[in-house]
């Protein structure tokens, strides 16, 4: 008995955590899946209703707005963050004296919550007293800036604040990648007469492939889950013009008593994350296997 206990102690130690993960992660996801196939409104009901909720979801104009916004947001957010990240990391890698200080400045927004970020930007973008007034005071008297209350533009204010919050992080990832490159490669290329520009384009950036991959996955992950920033900055408005899937989900779940529909939208979000993460994890594991 004692021997058995000793032999299995590692498993016994890990068992409670594993049970918790099984129940709270996998069990809950299955529950959500199943409820998305029922008629549940305010309370969950467990009689099977086929994929009707999913039909309802995809014929809901608000959901369409949310998905469309997610696409716009994702393309811009990921693209701009990567561009800024690459630019800043390459510039910082030129043996700058104040590097440590600048790095701290570029990265600190990451320590702030999206609610704090949203609150600050909401004030900065205030249609009458924010940036607009600043430019008018500076002499641009016809300057207008009403993105926050403009249905067509509100989604871009979320991009603006999100890029501010997360781009420094991409810079840090790329800087770490650049630092791991052997200086000899660059020296050799320089001796061959290659310009610094072409060295970066043809040699260094292609070597950054893993960093590109992980940055893109992380940023995609952040954008699919975007919730707090939307709530704090525009609350999905004006109207539903800056709605996102995560906002839609919580609205349906907690304010509209549409548990079935909310679950259907959660399932969609889950599948999207799965489509991004599984191939990534798979390639990462293969890479690790190959290197070890």
């Amino acid at each position: 008995m004692l021997y058995w206990l000793q032999k299995n102690l590692p498993k016994i130690v890990i068992a409670p955590s594993f049970a918790v993960i099984l129940w709270f992660v996998y069990g809950f996801i299955l529950w959500t899946f199943y409820v998305s196939l029922t008629k549940s409104k305010m309370l969950p009901r467990y009689d099977f209703w086929g994929i009707n909720q999913h039909f309802r979801l995809w014929s809901n104009p608000r959901w369409f707005t949310a998905v469309e916004n997610l696409l716009i947001f994702t393309v811009l957010f990921v693209g701009i963050c990567i561009l800024i990240g690459i630019l800043l990391s390459i510039l910082l890698d030129q043996k700058i004296r104040a590097e440590g200080f600048l790095r701290t400045v570029y990265l600190y927004p990451m320590a702030l919550s999206f609610i704090v970020t949203g609150t600050a930007w909401k004030w900065i973008l205030n249609p009458s007293m924010g940036i607009e007034k600043l430019f008018i005071d500076w002499g641009f008297t016809d300057f207008t800036f009403d993105w926050l209350v403009n249905r067509e533009m509100s989604i871009y204010t979320i991009v603006l604040a999100a890029v501010w919050q997360s781009s420094g992080f991409v810079m840090a990832l790329f800087l770490a990648g650049l630092r791991s490159i052997d200086d000899e490669i660059i020296k050799a290329a320089k001796i061959d007469g290659a310009s610094l520009y072409s060295i970066y384009i043809t040699i260094i950036l292609p070597m950054m492939r893993p960093v590109f991959m992980s940055s893109i996955v992380i940023l995609l992950h952040i954008s699919i889950k975007s919730y707090d920033l939307v709530v704090a900055l525009t609350a999905g408005g004006p109207g539903t013009s800056s709605d996102m899937p995560a906002v839609f989900m919580t609205q349906m779940a907690f304010h509209r008593s549409e548990i079935g529909l909310a679950s259907a939208s959660a399932v969609m979000m889950f599948l999207t994350v799965l489509a991004v993460v599984v191939p990534y994890l798979y390639s990462e594991l293969r890479r690790q296997d190959a290197s070890s």
Partner: protein
């Protein structure tokens, strides 16, 4: 002829070094402009919080306060006092957040360390699959577990309470803490463990006497990661609590949204700054570990 050549060469060199200086300045200009972009919102936040509403209406985002007043800070932290009922202020919610963060961070870090240890130093059949199952928890969109979690908290009788939030944050932090410790312990040579085993040390003795003493860096990384994540959380806070049990981010959002009487941007900014101070301090004091956590928490596969 030779002299002319030499002069030509020197001129070339001069123009090359002038070009170099020009690029150097350009480099600093671009870096400086970006620094301004990142600093500006913090600057605006702070100076706005120090102005009176009167001054805010007269000036613009960038104008410095003519007279520095801390009234908005006081209002944001402890309210106006007196009869002004219904005005939200941060102090009680700040303490809520602390009461939520401390146990959640401690418990999830402890179990993460144990799991990481068991997964790497006492390999058993299927341990890699087990780890993958843990790892997957890092990536799920929490919307997929929100509704069943709300019901579970209700059944356990801890919905809308700090203990409920502690449970939620501990559970969903486990994946990350296990990942951190597993990746740290895997790089520690097995010989250390073997030697201790030969000396007759058992599972827990090795953990507490051999591994924990050398785990300081990863403990710091994990604690910072968990602290920042839980302090900044809004989704769980707003889904599972309201009223008095809300954590600070939820209270901040409520404060900014409540549109009674006139909007006080100075109080909003002071409140936002107060809600951001703890994580900012951690970042400034332990930036290195903060960044290490960010990269480890999101890159590793």
């Amino acid at each position: 002829m030779q002299v002319a050549d030499k002069m030509h060469f020197e001129a070339l060199e001069r123009s090359a070094s002038r070009k170099k200086i020009f690029y150097r300045w350009l480099l600093f200009l671009v870096l400086g402009l970006f620094a301004l972009y990142y600093i500006a919102p913090l600057y605006v936040m702070i100076i706005t919080s120090l102005k009176s509403m009167e001054e805010i209406r007269q000036g613009n985002l960038m104008t410095l306060p003519g007279e520095i007043i801390f009234d908005s800070w006081k209002t944001a932290w402890s309210g106006r006092g007196g009869i002004d009922a219904g005005n939200v202020f941060l102090r009680p919610f700040f303490w809520n957040s602390i009461k939520m963060v401390a146990p959640a961070v401690a418990i999830s870090t402890f179990f993460g360390a144990l799991n990481g240890y068991a997964l790497t130093k006492w390999r058993f059949k299927g341990d890699n699959i087990l780890f993958l199952l843990f790892l997957f928890g890092c990536f799920i969109p929490y919307q997929a577990i929100l509704l069943p979690m709300a019901r579970t908290l209700g059944l356990l009788g801890i919905s809308n309470s700090i203990s409920g939030l502690v449970l939620v944050h501990t559970v969903y932090g486990l994946s990350f803490t296990t990942l951190f410790f597993r990746n740290y312990y895997i790089s520690i040579p097995d010989e250390m463990i073997k030697a201790a085993r030969i000396d007759g040390a058992g599972f827990f003795k090795i953990f507490f006497k051999v591994l924990l003493p050398i785990s300081a860096p990863i403990i710091v990384v994990t604690v910072i990661w968990q602290f920042t994540g839980i302090w900044n959380d809004f989704l769980f806070g707003s889904s599972f609590s309201f009223g008095e049990a809300a954590p600070i981010q939820v209270a901040l959002n409520n404060m900014v949204l409540t549109s009674t009487s006139i909007k006080e941007y100075n109080v909003d900014m002071a409140a936002a700054f107060i809600a951001g101070i703890p994580t900012l301090i951690v970042y400034i004091l332990a930036g290195k570990y903060f960044i290490r956590g960010l990269t480890a928490g999101s890159v590793k596969g």
